[in-house]
């Protein structure tokens, strides 16, 4: 048993540390920018170190992922064998390589935004937390001309927006985050609404602005609205309506939208060098 004075001092320490933590939470909730700066510095510092460790530990990590993801690996191997068989039987390996290169180049050309310069970036890290936090890190930052609020897309459509920008890395808030709120427009009727990320469901929900009388059908394309105060430029594909829930109480329709971009398998993304109006 520890002496009474020691126990008293420990409780005092606990209270002080807890109060400091609560103060940090309150300051961050108040939007104090120092926390974002600290996190950006931490990411920038860890980034090169992580690259070295990645290289050194690649065999071990590959072995581990091979063991824990054995079923996926078997399925993937089978698919690859099938594909090789197809290619060999057709004798078109060279043609195929050219075709794949053409498609890769095509992937880098966005068909839906004109005149906005883009930066190609790689997703360098997923979430550090085990809990879904709807954020990924990319390997470009302010030194490449990126700034907070810039939209992040793939050829398929909207991915999210830059939430925090360090000098060499940035954090992307994904479109599935419940705090990601944007104005949207239905392609066929041009009806305007407001949507947000649906969180763990991995989809996007338009929950305001679509009246009960507005004609909507599943499969309808949803785009960014691009209104003058919008945080996104117009006409970026968000996804397609996969479910419609009429709400008699609010006299509106709640639309569940399957995102066009596959957010769970992000590798290369493009950042539109477009800043929202202030």
């Amino acid at each position: 048993m520890r002496p009474v004075a020691t126990r008293r001092r420990t409780r005092y320490l606990l209270v002080v540390c807890s109060l400091v933590a609560v103060t940090l939470i309150a300051l961050d909730a108040g939007g104090l920018p120092v926390f974002n700066s600290a996190r950006s510095v931490a990411s920038d510092t860890a980034s090169p170190f992580g690259g070295v460790v990645d290289t050194l530990t690649a065999p071990f990590r590959n072995a581990w992922n091979g063991i824990t993801g054995y079923d996926d690996l078997v399925a993937e191997n089978q698919q690859l064998r099938d594909r090789i068989g197809e290619l060999e039987s057709e004798g078109v390996l060279e043609q195929s390589a050219r075709e794949q290169l053409r498609r890769l180049n095509e992937q880098l050309e966005l068909g839906y935004v004109d005149g906005i310069p883009t930066q190609v970036a790689r997703v360098s890290s997923g979430a550090y937390s085990n809990f879904a936090d709807y954020r990924v890190e990319i390997d470009k930052g302010s030194s490449s001309g990126l700034a907070e609020g810039m939209p992040v897309v793939t050829r398929s459509g909207l991915v999210g927006r830059l939430e925090r920008v360090g000098s060499s890395t940035s954090v992307v808030q994904l479109a599935t985050d419940p705090e990601f709120v944007i104005g949207v427009r239905l392609a066929s009727t041009q009806d305007l609404g407001v949507g947000r990320g649906a969180g763990a469901r991995g989809t996007f929900v338009v929950d305001r602005g679509i009246d009960l009388e507005d004609p909507v059908r599943t499969g309808e394309a949803v785009l960014t609205s691009g209104l003058s105060t919008s945080i996104m430029p117009p006409d970026i594909p968000v996804g397609v309506v996969s479910r419609i829930d009429p709400s008699p109480t609010t006299r509106e329709q709640l639309l569940e939208v399957t995102l066009s971009a596959e957010l769970t398998k992000l590798d290369v993304v493009q950042v539109l060098e477009w800043e929202p109006p202030t």
């Binding site: 420990t10 103060t23 940090l24 939470i25 961050d28 931490a42 550090y128 936090d133 705090e179």
Partner: protein, 169 residues
Amino acid sequence: MSLESPAVRWALVLTVVTAAQVSLVGDLSLFGVHPDLLLLLTVAAGLSGGPGRGVVVGFVCGLVADLFLHTRFGVATLASTLVGYAAGVAGDTVVRPSTPVWVAATAGLSAAGTVLYAALGHLLGSQSLADPNLIAIVGIVSLVNAALCVPALAVCRWAGDDRSAVRIR
């Protein structure tokens, strides 16, 4: 700067554990869940050194974790501080320390720490308690931390120079 100083040893341990967590362990997932070495260090520090050390190490580990998380800054710090204190109290109440006791205590405290972090995050709007993987996250983090508790306790005793503490008990 010498390894004779406990402060230097703790700084070294914290740096190595943070580097491992950020650059290596994050990629070693089991069913999509990766180990939480900073939580393990907090629990081991509390169990081996008592509530005072648990609070200090937990506070620092939480601060470091908050730098790499995207939730509200301070949530991991608060959760980790409380878990460090609880681990210290638990360590003090163990009359006959043995490996199974440390393993069970580490598993229980790791589970409690993970749920506490999720609960605090949920209170602040992050929906962590509603995460469909919550049970898997709690289970896997607890199991991995329990499996690593013996070397973690040894490292904490080395860092804290615990020969005197062991004598007091």
